[in-house]
């Protein structure tokens, strides 16, 4: 499956020219630079805009996730990339070619469906060979590529089975094999792991990622599971209400969320409502919950804001302290790998803090008074009322 080997014949050995070879010139590793461009795409259903003015670029060989809650437009966008829906305005380019009005069977993208969509009346091998048959590849070449694909997904020997005889995870891998066998420019995945249980899902996430890296394939992956998006992606596009809210690497999104929606959607986040008391030298002092919060951010004095800080950044000191924010420990939650504590603040709001197992914090008990603090650079400030 390594493109170099296939398409540059060894000395004296002619590779049969086939449709696959033609398409392969646009194939994944041959693409340097941008593989997919989406420009100002709009799609509405009646009065509801499912996708509103979305633009993004996907680099060749990149793993990009479209992440968002249901109804965010991520699946609609994927369908438009595949050609099953048409945008009402905007452009889509794949492999340098404008495909906005190209029908779905001529786009050279592969799609892995949520429920695999394997053809039940064909064997595994016939399923995988299907796109090669459509591209008129000869029998021998077809068989060879099918075998290669099966090896890649570790299902050699399953060629003659029927989809109904396979487990969910195996069906998933057949769907993958069918998608990679013809070296498409882009592979689209529509929440492919949703039907699997947690352990299997985690295993498959790794396998997909390894496969993608090995092939150098460009993948656009739709999911509502933020953990999945963070673990697998090179970049994540967060969508909400049809709009692209933020596009960036997982780390960038996690450490520097652009809106409170992104802050809340990825990982865990505490939100405290308050008013800015003073700003000096890039440090904002915010009146919250009977105390003062320190955030490294720009703000107007008097603005209504929400302070956001992650549980793992919160530190606690036992007893009444000189810290600007205090509370009372309400509940200890044992999570297995970590321990969280819920702290009740003077105004009734709750704050969640992650406690290290071997620290002094571990000896805190419900009812204890605690002082709360964090690194101001690790906290964020968002306007109150923004979504």
């Amino acid at each position: 499956m390594l493109p170099g080997r296939q398409f540059f014949p060894r000395s004296g050995v002619k590779t049969p020219v086939s449709a696959t070879a033609v398409i392969a010139r646009q194939s994944t590793t041959a693409i340097r630079g941008v593989a997919v461009t989406v420009e100002n795409i709009w799609r509405s259903y009646g009065a509801v805009a499912a996708v509103a003015d979305v633009s993004l670029d996907v680099q060749g060989g990149e793993f990009l996730s479209l992440l968002g809650p249901s109804g965010s437009g991520k699946t609609t966008l994927l369908m438009m990339l595949a050609g099953f829906e048409a945008p009402q305005s905007g452009r889509i380019s794949i492999g340098g070619r404008d495909v906005t009005h190209v029908p779905p069977n001529r786009r050279d993208v592969a799609m892995v469906f949520q429920r695999y969509a394997l053809f039940p009346h064909m064997s595994v091998a016939q399923n995988i060979a299907f796109p090669l048959r459509m591209r008129r590849l000869g029998r021998a070449a077809r068989d060879a590529k099918v075998r290669e694909a099966l090896d890649m997904v570790k299902l050699s020997g399953y060629a003659e089975r029927r989809p109904a005889e396979l487990s969910g995870g195996q069906q998933q891998r057949v769907a993958l094999a069918r998608a990679i066998v013809f070296d498409p420019t882009v592979i689209l995945m529509d929440e492919p792991l949703g039907a699997l249980d947690k352990k299997l899902r985690q295993h498959m996430q790794l396998e997909i990622k390894q496969l993608q890296a090995r092939l150098g394939a460009t993948v656009i992956y739709v999911t509502h599971d933020q953990e999945e998006a963070l673990t697998m992606s090179d970049r994540v596009a967060v969508m909400n209400g049809g709009r692209l809210v933020q596009l960036g690497t997982p780390r960038a999104l996690y450490d520097r969320p652009a809106t409170s929606f992104v802050a809340d959607f990825l990982g865990e986040m505490n939100f405290l409502r308050g008013r800015v008391r003073d700003v000096a030298a890039g440090l904002a002092l915010v009146d919250v919950a009977g105390g003062v919060a320190h955030v490294r951010a720009e703000a107007r004095r008097g603005a209504a804001v929400r302070v956001a800080v992650r549980p793992e950044h919160v530190t606690l000191l036992q007893g009444e302290t000189t810290r600007d924010l205090t509370g009372r420990l309400a509940q200890v939650i044992f999570n297995g790998a970590a321990t969280d504590v819920l702290i009740e603040l003077p105004d009734g709001e709750a704050l969640r803090a992650r406690v290290g197992a071997r620290s002094d914090e571990a000896s805190l008990r419900p009812g204890d008074a605690v002082g709360i603090g964090w690194d101001p650079a690790a906290a964020h400030l968002f306007p109150d009322g923004e979504t």
Binding site: A82, P103, M111, F113, F130, M134, R178, F182
Partner: protein, 273 residues
């Protein structure tokens, strides 16, 4: 169901169930008895069924196979049924595809109208069609029979095939398109094989609908050509004899056999999809 939801073990007899069980057995006997009784009748030595049954004879079968009137009627009916099966299956499948996958205005009314032959009482159809066919010289002709039988049989095909088409997940055709197949190719290679068992079942229904069709056939049978159902009807009214039992046994066994086959193939097909 719900009558005994807390059965301790399958197959264990609960004594409280007994009255219900007996009632059911009685009703099931009621259901099966008439049809089943034909069989020993066709083998009885006497021309009426005695109880206990007397003797065993193939006389009535000999009479059936040896009677040109019976054989000719049977062959005629079979021919009509085969042609009806072919016509109804083709026309019905095409219509089903249009109904399930097509863009049609007023689809609901269309469906209702297409299924009308199942609702309208056959006597009305019979005399109406006779009035229409007679002046055209279509009564008693193969063409006439096939036309009306097909019209009456197609709804069965449409019902079965549309149900099967709806069960095919659209994502399968989408996958086919995505992998590079043309729309027609998708339909032929992906959808049709999955629907084929239903089409076969529909064909069997159409065949039997035609072969068993009695009322309309009675009215449009002619002097030269009559269906076996017409002959049977007349014989029952005027000339009752156990030859009818012999013919009936053959037909019943054939019907049950065919329907079981159709049933079996559909079950096998849905097991793999």
């Amino acid at each position: 169901m719900t009558d005994a939801p807390v059965r301790p073990r399958r197959g264990k007899i609960r004594w409280a169930d007994l009255p219900f069980g007996l009632l059911c057995v009685a009703i099931l006997i009621f259901l099966m008895l008439p049809t089943v009784l034909i069989v020993p009748m066709s083998f009885s030595r006497t021309s009426y069924l005695t109880f206990p049954p007397s003797g065993f004879s193939l006389e009535w079968y000999r009479l059936y196979f040896g009677d040109p009137a019976w054989i000719e009627a049977t062959v005629f009916s079979l021919g009509i049924a085969v042609m009806t099966m072919a016509a109804a299956t083709v026309v019905g499948t095409m219509a089903s595809v249009a109904l399930v996958r097509g863009r049609l205005p007023g689809r609901a009314t269309l469906e209702a109208l297409l299924l009308a032959p199942l609702i309208v009482p056959s006597i009305i159809v019979a005399i109406a069609v006779y009035l229409q066919f007679a002046p055209l010289g279509l009564t008693g002709t193969r063409l006439g029979f096939v036309l009306i039988h097909t019209a009456l049989a197609v709804p069965y095909v449409v019902l079965v095939v549309t149900a099967a088409l709806q069960r095919v997940p659209p994502s399968l055709e989408m996958a086919g398109l995505n992998l590079g197949a043309s729309r027609l190719r998708c339909f032929l290679e992906i959808t049709m094989p999955l629907v084929a068992p239903a089409i076969a079942a529909g064909a069997v229904f159409a065949f039997l609908a035609s072969f068993d069709e009695t009322v309309v056939s009675f009215f449009i049978s002619g002097v030269e050509h009559q269906t076996v159902t017409r002959k049977m009807f007349e014989d029952i009214e005027f000339n009752i004899s156990p030859v009818i039992a012999a013919a009936s046994t053959i037909f019943v066994l054939a019907s049950v056999g065919l329907m079981s086959l159709a049933d079996f193939s559909r079950r096998a097909a849905s097991a793999t999809s």
